[in-house]
């Protein structure tokens, strides 16, 4: 077996208090070399604070930070060799594109020729060849974003830190930049920590996602795992759309798990290896909208529930349908295309099928 490479960043029981606010609480995390790790969480959960502590702008109230094997907890930010891209880009307005990108190299006392070559290469990498002598004020938001990226990667940082770098861009540009960021990451292989509160962005970009809430880690996992088996209710409802069913009581019948909700609704699921729920225990079921379907007369599904259609939200590729399922509460269905709108008019009484094989089942 290959020897475990040195991690890029190691956070050990790191805390940060601002007066009464505990922004980050005893958080431990290991960031592997070359991975693109996303910090995801609601506003105010401590993402920026964590990033600032890695960069050295915020001094931890407790714990230690190791970058590339060296304890940097007490090292000032200008000696940490991290590359940060700010939400506002923070390009120097009194310098042109070349000087902006060259700044970090000048600080490292690199020779003139080397600087020219490195800046040229960095601008090429972000597809801004020929922009070297532009004033930064003449650039569009997307271009400024690229300059900020080039400026950060040109110094070959030990870790690239991106704080919501795409949030100021409009939706289309944002999509394009997400793809480019991912490509750039493949090409440079730089260890990257990416902050966002957009879960789709996180799912699309990351090797691993760290879901945070109130200064603590809720779960660290690859996107697919996070989506399919969230560790708790918070992660389940934060990642993607999900229906949370009322608390259920679980029973095992042969190779089936039977859930009794609100006294009389009974739902069945195939028993799973990993399911460790005892007889009679209270459980919580979370079902993705794509696992709810409108039942047709000939379908023989086992979990049929009758409900009333309240709204349709047509999204082009799919339609979100809201239904009132009586004791199960309001539920959302997702169906490809727009057929559901005609098939189940608003106000009509329909039957839906709940597929629990992919459901998230958590012990209460």
């Amino acid at each position: 077996m290959k020897a475990q490479a040195l991690p890029a960043v190691e956070l050990t029981r790191v805390s940060k208090n601002f007066d009464a606010v505990q922004a980050v609480r005893e958080l431990s995390l290991t960031i592997q070399k070359g991975e693109l790790l996303t910090l995801l969480g609601p506003s105010g959960c401590g993402k920026t604070t964590l990033l600032n502590m890695i960069a050295g702008f915020d001094v931890p109230s407790g714990g230690s930070i190791v970058i590339d094997g060296r304890d940097v907890t007490a090292v000032p930010p200008y000696r940490r060799e991290t590359g940060m891209v700010f939400q506002s880009y923070a390009l120097f307005p009194h310098m042109n594109v070349f000087e902006n990108v060259a700044f970090g190299l000048r600080m490292r006392k690199m020779a003139k020729l080397g600087i020219e070559r490195a800046v040229g290469r960095a601008l090429e990498m972000v597809k801004l060849e020929g922009f070297a002598s532009r004033r930064v004020g003449q650039l569009s938001g997307g271009q400024q974003q690229r300059v900020a990226l080039a400026r950060a990667i040109v110094i070959g940082p030990k870790v690239l830190l991106l704080d919501e770098p795409l949030s100021a861009l409009d939706k289309n540009l944002r999509r394009a930049m997400q793809l480019e960021l991912r490509e750039l990451h493949e090409r440079t292989g730089l260890t990257t920590v990416f902050v966002t509160h957009d879960q789709e962005e996180a799912l699309g970009l990351s090797d691993r996602i760290v879901v945070m809430s109130r200064g603590e880690i809720q779960q660290v996992a690859a996107p697919l795992e996070l989506y399919r088996s969230p560790a708790n209710g918070f992660v389940a409802s934060f990642i993607g759309e999900i229906n949370r069913l009322p608390p259920a009581r679980c029973r095992i019948e042969g190779d089936e798990a039977v859930f009794e909700i609100a006294g009389h609704v009974v739902l069945r699921a195939r028993r799973r290896e990993k399911l460790t729920i005892a007889e009679g225990q209270e459980t919580h079921l979370f079902v993705r909208p794509e696992h709810l379907t409108i039942a047709t007369s000939k379908s023989s599904a086992q979990n049929k529930v009758s409900c009333r259609v309240t709204t349709h939200l047509y999204q082009g590729a799919y339609t979100l349908t809201r239904v009132d399922a009586g004791p199960l509460g309001n539920l959302q269905l997702r169906a490809l295309g727009g057929e559901a709108i005609a098939a189940a008019p608003i106000g009509s009484q329909i039957e839906i099928d709940i597929d629990l094989d992919e459901a998230v089942i958590l012990a209460g």
Partner: protein, 271 residues
């Protein structure tokens, strides 16, 4: 139709009022400018002809020559010192939280409340006590105090407009605190600082009340020399020198406006 008429009427009323205010504001300067080109020996308005003879006299009058040079010396030192001290204060107030910060701000604003008369009189007594008399040092010290609030205010506003992320970005790229100051903070503050300096220069060049106390014949500045002149003579030379001072300060004002305006443009550029 009548709505349009009403709108037209309202617009002309508005612009009429603006014109009236403009005339009202500039009329004293206008009268002085007119009088300055009068050929007559006496101060008269409107002038009975046209001549530059009083300008010649204003230029060749030794007291005015000396006073102008004095004014430049005092202004150069006072504005520069004021900029230095004002910038330091502005930086302190912007960046640090310390006991007495509010008090410092109040002290900085105090020349706006204390009459120039009082400041001048105070420095006159102090100068005499220290054996400095009415030397340049005392005049400069007085002008520094009078211009300080304006300079520190200007620099403070520039500092506030500075995006803190810029300094962080420089730090992140490996710049030590000194390098950040040298390569990012100061260059971005420069328009504000130049503007502040020019503002101080204008105030210092035209300051009269306090200067009357703290200057002597040898150190008197132009406004004081002008005052002395009108007490002895009543010819249009005084109008001519006034006109020259107006032109000179207007030029400085335009320059200051360009610097401070430029700062604003830069601030827009960043975001």
């Amino acid at each position: 139709m009548s709505a349009r008429l009403a709108r037209g009427l309202r617009a002309s009323l508005f612009w009429g009022a603006v014109a009236l205010i403009l005339v009202y504001m500039t009329i004293p300067a206008f009268v002085v400018l007119m009088t300055s080109v009068s050929p007559s020996e006496l101060l008269e308005f409107p002038p009975s002809g046209f001549s530059f003879r009083w300008y010649e006299r204003a230029f060749s009058y030794p007291d005015f020559q000396n006073a102008f040079v004095n004014g430049l010396i005092v202004t150069a030192f006072a504005s520069s010192l004021s900029l230095l001290i004002g910038s330091a204060f502005a930086y302190l107030v912007d960046r640090y939280v310390f006991a007495g910060r509010a008090a410092l701000e109040a002290v900085l604003a105090s020349p706006l409340i204390i009459p120039h008369f009082t400041t001048g009189f105070g420095f006159l007594l102090l100068g005499a006590d220290l054996g400095l008399g009415q030397s340049y040092a005392v005049v400069i010290a007085t002008h520094v105090v009078l211009t300080l609030p304006f300079v520190s205010r200007t620099v403070y506003v520039s500092l506030r407009n500075l995006d803190p992320a810029l300094e962080r970005a420089a730090t992140n790229l490996g710049a030590s605190p000194f390098e950040v100051l040298k390569r990012v903070t100061l260059p971005l503050l420069r328009p504000g600082m130049v503007g502040g300096w020019l503002l101080a220069a204008i105030l210092s060049l035209t300051e009269f009340t306090a200067s009357l106390y703290v200057t002597a014949q040898r150190t008197q500045t132009l406004p004081v020399a002008m005052y002395t002149y009108v007490r002895e003579y009543t010819d249009p030379t005084i109008a001519a020198i006034s006109a020259l001072l107006i032109i000179f300060t207007t030029a400085l004002m335009l320059l200051a406006n360009r610097c401070l305006g430029l700062r604003r443009i830069l601030a827009i550029d960043v975001h």
